[in-house]
Amino acid sequence: MDIELRHASLHWQQHCVFDHLDLTLPGRQWTSILGQSGVGKSSLLQLLCGIADSAVIQGEIHCSDGLALHGRVAWMAQQDLLLPWLNLLDNVLLGARLQQGRRPTSEQRELAGYLLQQVGLGDRTTTRPGQLSGGQRQRVALARTLFQDQPLVCMDEPFSALDAINRLKLQDLAAELLADRTVLMITHDPLEALRLSDRILVLQGHPARLSEALEPEGVIPRAVDDAEVLQHQARLLRLLAGETV
């Protein structure tokens, strides 16, 4: 399913951050938006997730299947947002628990357990999040996002709070588990975008505009020392830094 966002505009304190912005997310592809802080990329993502403040950002969303996008987006934020009072299994099951108003079915529990196994925490289902490290917590958040099984996955700097090694590991895991899904990822790290994305867009300027899509070659997740990745990274870093000079 393709998703199209048209005429998006973001106003912040009577100041236009962007206007008439169009964004297309082709189905089963991983799209990344690169940009500096304050350029409105998180608001753009929240608009798609249906949690944006409508006084601040507005836009029309069209899905290629003609249905509304509302309620069909899985959101993964920079913070893991695990509920400290629930164990890992119940955190993964959160969507089911909140919607049904009754205990999750045994199939749902089985699926949640399987997903925790996939992110390498299959033996910690009854642990509470407080006992986990940052990397482990974000893995659980990834499992929770996968459990929702929505047509669109929106990720807002999902790995930026992690240290370098954990970040690479989690990128590999996310690439594996989210393959063939429609993904929109917001990031300020060109390397992260280059490792994972089919298409990379840069959001910058006053008012902010989206650049032409960069479509790197190679199998995802791309290696950090891949020549093309490094070359693009240098170019993107120059592009992003150029604006502040």
């Binding site: 400290p84 969507g95 954990n166």
Partner: protein, 257 residues
């Protein structure tokens, strides 16, 4: 080991100072009885003391239960209906400007000399701290949790009961602890103003008859009761929120696994 010994040493030290003052000032026993005399009275009058302590304890527990229940329901209503909080919150704050002690005689007049007026006093005195603590806890849910709940398609009801309420439990726990420490004050003040049973009545009566040793014994029983109540409530509050201690003792976030 030291953790257990320390309170004992402190208690022993205080008793010694007490005894020392009695020796030093040579105060008559109807002004300041020594600790030994108070203990002796405590044992001699034990059935009497327990009878009155039972009444006071019942008043405190009932007041604690009603006050907590009312506070919790008020806080839930305040967050559920935003319009209500605009009207009710100022009333609540103004009501706190009236000292509960000043209301005691009126409560006596309305509810009689029995237990009801004391329960009402205890309820009133803990109602505000519990409501305030719960209300603050319910309002301060991390926005991220609520945004996540919305993307997960949670109804307002589900958000309240499955996200905001559990997130407010630690704040509710501190409200309960405050309630447990002030509820005995409410009950005893109620008894002072007018009653025929309870530790407050016993103390007032003993004082009037110059039985200061009995008054001190009643005070001791009351203190032990209040401490016991506080620690039980503290234990319950910690059982309600087992994750709170885990989070603070675990490794800082961002560490590698």
């Amino acid at each position: 080991m030291m953790r257990l010994l320390r309170p004992l040493i402190i208690a022993l030290g205080l008793l010694l100072i007490w005894q020392f003052i009695v020796w030093l000032t040579d105060a008559p026993r109807f002004i300041l009885p020594g600790p030994l005399l108070v203990l002796e009275t405590l044992f001699k009058q034990f059935p009497l003391l327990m009878h009155h302590a039972g009444v006071t304890l019942a008043e405190i527990l009932l007041g604690l239960f009603l006050g907590t229940l009312l506070g919790l329901v008020s806080a839930l209503s305040l967050v559920t209906w935003a319009g209500l909080s605009r009207w009710l919150l100022p009333v609540l704050v103004v009501s706190q400007a009236i000292p509960v002690f000043a209301l005691a005689p009126v409560l006596m007049l309305w509810l009689g000399y029995g237990m009801a007026s004391k329960v009402a006093m205890a309820t009133l005195i803990i109602y505000f701290p519990v409501t305030a603590a719960c209300f603050d806890g319910l309002r301060q849910t991390p926005t991220g949790y609520l945004q996540l709940a919305r993307t997960l398609g949670a109804s307002r009801r589900a958000q309240l009961f499955q996200i905001r309420l559990p997130a407010a439990l630690p704040a509710f726990g501190s409200g309960l602890r405050v309630a447990a420490s002030v509820a005995p004050i409410g009950a005893v003040v109620g008894e002072w103003v007018g009653s025929s049973t309870g530790l407050g009545y016993l103390m007032l009566n003993a004082n009037a008859r110059m039985q200061v040793d009995l008054m001190f014994a009643a005070l001791l029983v009351l203190a032990v009761m209040a401490l016991g109540l506080y620690f039980s409530v503290n234990l319950i509050a910690r059982r309600l929120t087992p994750w709170v201690n885990e989070t603070t003792s675990s490794a800082p976030r961002g560490d590698s696994p």
